[in-house]
Structure formats: structure tokens, C-alpha cells
Symmetry: none
Subunit: 411 residues, 2 copies
């Protein structure tokens, strides 16, 4: 027996009015696409339709004609709005045949209902497309089915993720032709366009690898997809892109910036504290989101008033009066004060003007001072952060963690 060649182009169809009305975010598509990517199958389109047999049938006909594989989830349960079996039957002209083995398996579920209509609805889950292979339910009661339609393989899977997952996993094992997992590089405090240009410099002209640049404020990811290059060569290329990106690239394994900072500190036997003004606790919240952060992160002083900078961080009132809260001098005093107050080996401080108010011609909105303190003293730098209050805050927290990361890594 030889395995059939892996399908190359796939579509994912999710069925349910809870999706098209927005009441539920569809996470199945992402989960199925990731699993298919891992098997070397490319999702070219994902479609969601409501509990509408006609709309589903029309989508299935269209996609089965242009794809090697169509994975459908949802609408396989026992209720009136479960339209997937009938929609597929209509789309492909395949009658539904009640499977006796499935009927026997559903009998205990059906017996729980006194209303015969409810029992009949349970048994409707035993209706199988002519010629389809049954995928027995691992969780829940709804089985899946796989049927060949012309050149396309169509799989119908239940919608609840915990029921869908084991059936998907077994299918992916069958289809898996072994494309490499995508390589993910993460970068901090850099623009999307700069990352784009860097990746292009390395990857331009190749058709055996595809890349995607994903940006969120202050954080940019480059994802390299295997399109025939293979795992070993993909890893080499990912290293080349990382090299080209330089010190802005902080992880090659998908770790977040906070995870990277905590790992570096742990490896070096250091402890960390932060002093935050304009970021208001965002840097601390990012660090403490990581399980086990308490091993190296000691805490943060969120000092939003001048008085609290003095009370918690021993910033001299004279410095605040002379230079203002947003200044090199106060940033350094905050970092040194946090290091002392928390007894940490290393501290970072952020003080800036997030806006919308508080800017001056001297210190416009977006002016942010960052300082690092360690046993050897302290240093500071100013950045003018673009964007509104939210962006200034989020990006400033990223810069603070990134400065800590670079210092810990000796970059």
C-alpha cells in the first residue's frame, strides 16, 4: 500500500450562524490551517457560511472544483441548524445513507431523550454520504466523514474544537508529506518596512520559500514558510535573515521579548526591577505574563506622580524641580532607585509624555527617556516615539524591555 500524494491546495469551510453574526470568533480555521501547513498543504481560501444549506452547498461545489482538499467544520451535530451533511449531499449529488454501526453507537445518547423527535435528531448524526469513510467520534457524539469528489478530498468534521481536533490530527497524519514547520523570527523596536527590506534582501527571487511580515506595535515577526526548500535549508535561510536583521532580532524560536529578557536574566543569574511612569505598568505586566517570572523579576514601581518618584524611588525633589520628570537625570535616578528599592541586579526606568496633553515645544508628546542601572552605574537615552497615547505607551514598554535585553545579551 502506498500513500496517496499529499494534496497541495486546500480550503477550510466553517459553518455556523454564530460565526457570520460575529457572536463567536472562528478559531478552527487557524488551527486547521496550522495543521495543514505542517503537512505541506497550503490553505488558499477559508470561507464561513451561516447555517444555510444552499450557501454551504454552493461554497462546497466551488471549492471542490478548484482545491485538492476541502476541510469543513461545524454543522454536524444533532440540531435542526446542523446543515452540513445535507449541504454536502446537495453539493455533490451524493445521497445520505444511515450507517448501522453508527446508529448502534448513538443508541445510548438517543435513549437519554424521551421525545422521539430528539432521539431522531441524535440518529441523524449516523447519516453518511454515499462512498464516504466514517471517522468515529473521539470526543462528543458527532462522527466525521471523508469522501472523494472528483479530484478533491472533502472532510466533514464537527465544530467544537475538542471534538474536531483528534479527527483532524488523524487526517493530517495521513496527508502529511513532511513540509518543515515555519521558521519565526521576532524583532523589537524596528519598523515593518525595515524588516521587510531586510528579509527581501535575503529571500528575493526564491520560490522554494515564502515569507510573511506581521507587525504589532513595537514588535515585528517574519515567518518563513517551506515551499519545497526543506527543514535544514529553511533553518539556514532563517539564520541568514536573522544575521541580516542584526541585533533587532531577539528570538528565532517564537519566544516573546519578555520571555527572552527573563531567560537571559536567569542564565546570567541576574534579577530585574522596573520603574515606570508613562508606561504605567505595561512593562511589568508583560514580564509577569510569563509563567515563572517571579524567579528573576522582583517588581515595578509605577510612579505616576512626582511625590511617588521621591517616596518609592528616592528621586531627589531637586532633580524633579530642576529638570522635570521627563529628563535624563530623573530617568537615571528612577532606574537607580528601583535597583536599590527592589534589591535587583539590574533595573530599567521609563519616563515620558504619552499625551494627548502634557507636551511642550521643548518636550513634545512622545518624548520618552529610558535609563538602565546596574552595579556599574546608570545610563540613559531619549527616543521620540510616534503615535497616540496607546502607541507611545506600548512601544515605550517594548523599548524598555529591549534595552534590558540588549544589555543582558551584551549587544
Amino acid at each position: 500500500v502506498t500513500a496517496a500524494p499529499a494534496p497541495k491546495r486546500a480550503a477550510v469551510v466553517t459553518v455556523g450562524t454564530e460565526i457570520t453574526t460575529g457572536l463567536m470568533v472562528d478559531t478552527n480555521t487557524s488551527e486547521i490551517a496550522l495543521a495543514l501547513e505542517g503537512a505541506g498543504v497550503r490553505v488558499v481560501e477559508a470561507v464561513s457560511v451561516g447555517d444555510d444549506r444552499g450557501a454551504l452547498a454552493s461554497a462546497l461545489r466551488r471549492l471542490a472544483a478548484s482545491c485538492d482538499l476541502v476541510v469543513v467544520t461545524g454543522g454536524l451535530g444533532p440540531t435542526h441548524d446542523d446543515v452540513t451533511r445535507h449541504g454536502a449531499s446537495e453539493a455533490f449529488g451524493l445521497p445520505l445513507i444511515r450507517d448501522p454501526a453508527l446508529v448502534a453507537g448513538l443508541a445510548p445518547s438517543a435513549a437519554r431523550h424521551t421525545d422521539p423527535r430528539a432521539a431522531e435528531q441524535v440518529y441523524s448524526q449516523a447519516d453518511v454520504l454515499e462512498g464516504a469513510r466514517v471517522l468515529p467520534a473521539v470526543k462528543g457524539t458527532a462522527p466525521g466523514q471523508v469522501v472523494r469528489v472528483g479530484d478533491c478530498t472533502v472532510a466533514l468534521l464537527p465544530g467544537p474544537p475538542r471534538e474536531m481536533r483528534p479527527l483532524l490530527a488523524s487526517l493530517v497524519r495521513e496527508w502529511g508529506a513532511g513540509a518543515a514547520a515555519p521558521a519565526v523570527l521576532r524583532c523589537a523596536a524596528v519598523t515593518e518596512s525595515d524588516v521587510q527590506v531586510a528579509a527581501q534582501d535575503v529571500l528575493d527571487g526564491r520560490d522554494d520559500v515564502e515569507f510573511t511580515v506581521l507587525a504589532s506595535p513595537g514588535d515585528v515577526r517574519v515567518v518563513l514558510h517551506d515551499r519545497g526548500i526543506g527543514a535544514a535549508a529553511l533553518a539556514v535561510l532563517a539564520d541568514a535573515v536573522a544575521e541580516r536583521l542584526g541585533p533587532v532580532c531577539y528570538s528565532r524560536d517564537g519566544s516573546t521579548l519578555a520571555e527572552t529578557v527573563l531567560r537571559l536574566a536567569r542564565e546570567r543569574g541576574e534579577t530585574i526591577a522596573t520603574a515606570e511612569s508613562c508606561t504605567g505598568g505595561l512593562a511589568a505586566a508583560a514580564l509577569t505574563a510569563v509563567p515563572g517570572a517571579s524567579a528573576v523579576f522582583l517588581g515595578s514601581a509605577v510612579t505616576y506622580s512626582d511625590e511617588s518618584k521621591t517616596a518609592l524611588l528616592a528621586v531627589e525633589p531637586g532633580l524633579l524641580a530642576r529638570f522635570g520628570a521627563v529628563s535624563e537625570e530623573v530617568a537615571r535616578a528612577m532606574a537607580e532607585g528601583a535597583r536599590a528599592a527592589f534589591g535587583a541586579t539590574r533595573a530599567v526606568a521609563v519616563t515620558g509624555i504619552a499625551g494627548p496633553d502634557g507636551g511642550t515645544s521643548d518636550k513634545p508628546v512622545g518624548t520618552v527617556w529610558f535609563a538602565l542601572a546596574d552595579a556599574d552605574g546608570s545610563g540613559a537615552e531619549m527616543r521620540l516615539m510616534p503615535g497616540d497615547r496607546e502607541l507611545v505607551r506600548v512601544r515605550s514598554a517594548v523599548v524598555a524591555l529591549d534595552l534590558l535585553r540588549r544589555r543582558l545579551a551584551g549587544l
Copy 2:
């Protein structure tokens, strides 16, 4: 001028290889569908395609022929994989014309790049479909556009939710012309089902108003949609639902919990500080996200280690040794210490076990103590928070702010 009748059938198209490869869960579809529902428009199909101009063009042609409205998000940014403008151009045979006003607006962004290729990529965001109306960017740099294609209105919106949201809101106001704006009630620290039942009690049997319950961790919103009832009667009904919900309902105008806390404190001439252990700065970050927070919020001591609870909040080491960091005694000492250290009239403290490790049979993961301190002393209460580390942290921050809100409101 009379408003055009609201479109009845809509499609949502999301563009991005990060979606079709599963690297990102698409939340825009849900958000857009909810907003369209609110305007009386029904989403009949949602489609995701990768960064593939041909696939997008073919989806757009098909959907524009069968829908009154097509909303596209994503692929409008400045990088090579931003294919939406060209995909729409190809689909509808509309040339792209570079808009001089947009070019001028993008100049500061372009000037940040030294590489001319990067600058040209920034300017590509100024390319507009012939005949399209520009929706200037409210956040970010990518503008949206709206164009009429036969009987269909096609809107292209940026993909990042914070950039998409304000443009969507203005479009939905146009399309929903005539219907009253939805009424939004927000509730804290309550289950979705309880809110559902309360809303049903008031609204059951009505066909002139429809409601949706939206839950995020610790926070539940009820949205009342005008289906013919009119603005005045909708407001009366919203008040009746708020009445039925009781003290869990903290806002009737869409204000967030943090905004409500800050408003109450300002009205009462009070100042606020927080002391956070397991929430790690999340409560402070929520408060400082609000512009003008510094008028009443003085700061937060994020004390992740025992020693820092003593150093910053003067928690007696004996209390920590005897009762442990997660205890009524330490929570109260933290609240009192924060009030003193920041010189605030009122402080809230949170100390708990967020997991995944650190739980015991006595104090399982999810055990969280909350304390409030004011001029009259302090009080504390324990809650067992369900969920994983992230949920325990987020929900605990909501509970802390909600306790502060209730105390400030005298509830």
C-alpha cells in the same frame, strides 16, 4: 439629501497569509459582523484569502455580484504582501490613482526611511481606486476607501483592529442611517449567563429591539439594537435593563471600568494607588491607559517578591512569614502601605496565585485576596478565580478595579 437604504446582504473578506496559514486568528470578521448586525445588515459569507492578488480579485468579483456590501480588511499596509489595492483594481477594472493629499500626509512616515524602496512602499498607501472615496486613517497610516461597483458598495479597510475600528464605525453610522445608535451597558465581575437572563427578563417578546451579549474575561457587555423602537424608547429600555442588572452594571455610555473609576474618584476629590502582586501591573496599566489618569491615579507598587512588599509597602516580614504573601493580612497591609507610600486617599491591593505553579491544597491556583484601604482603615475579601494564568490575572485586575468602583460609588 436622503440616505441610501441600508444594504441587506453583506460579505466580509479578510486578507493575509498570516490568516490562511493559521498564524493569526481572524478577529476582524467577528467584529465587523457584529457591527453590521447592529446596522441591520446580515453577513451571508466571510472569506479569507492569503496575500494573493488573483485569489482576492476572484473572491471580490464573485461577492460583489451577489452582495449589497463587501467589507475587506487587511493588505492595505506598505509592504510587498499588501495586495488589496491591486486585487480590487484587478477585480473591478478600476485603475489606481495616487492621491496627492494622502501623499502629503504620508511624507513624515516616508521621511523616517533612508532606503528609497521603503519610502516608496509607504507612499503606495496613497494609491486609490478610481472613483473611490477616501477614509482618512484615524490610527496608523493606511487609509481606507469605499467604492461603488454596480449595485454593491465595496469598502477596503486596514487590517490591524485598532486602525480598522474607527473607519468601520463611521461606515456603519452611514449604513445604519435611521436606526438609533445601539445602547451599550457594561458589567464587571459577572457571568455572561447572568447578564443574558437579566436582559431577557426585560426584553423577551419584543421584536422592535434585539440584544447581544458580548463577554471578555471579567467584563460583559449587553448591546441593544434598534429594530424599529427608536432612540427615546431604546434609552428607556436600556435603563430598565441596567436597573435589572443592579450594581454589576458600571456604565451605560460605553465607558470602560477604568474610566468609570477615574471619573468617580475625580468627582469625589479622591486619589488612588494600587498594590499589585499576581496582576503584575495590569490594574495600573488599565488605569493609565485613560488620558488624564494622572489627575487622580498616583501610582502602583508591583511587588512580586516578599522583600519588595516590605521595602516598598512596609509589609511586616512577620506577617509574610506567618500568613504567607497570599493572605487577608498581607493584602490589607499592602493596601494600607500603598495608601501611605503614594499619599493617596484610597488604595486597592491584589495578591494571589495565578499559576500554573505555586498552588497548594490550602491555597489552590486562582486563590486571590483583595483589600481596600481608606482613611477609616482597611478590609479584604478572597475570591477563587477560575481559568489559567492569563485569565486569573486579567479577571483579578477587573475585580480590583470593580471593588474600587463600588466603594467610590458607595454601592
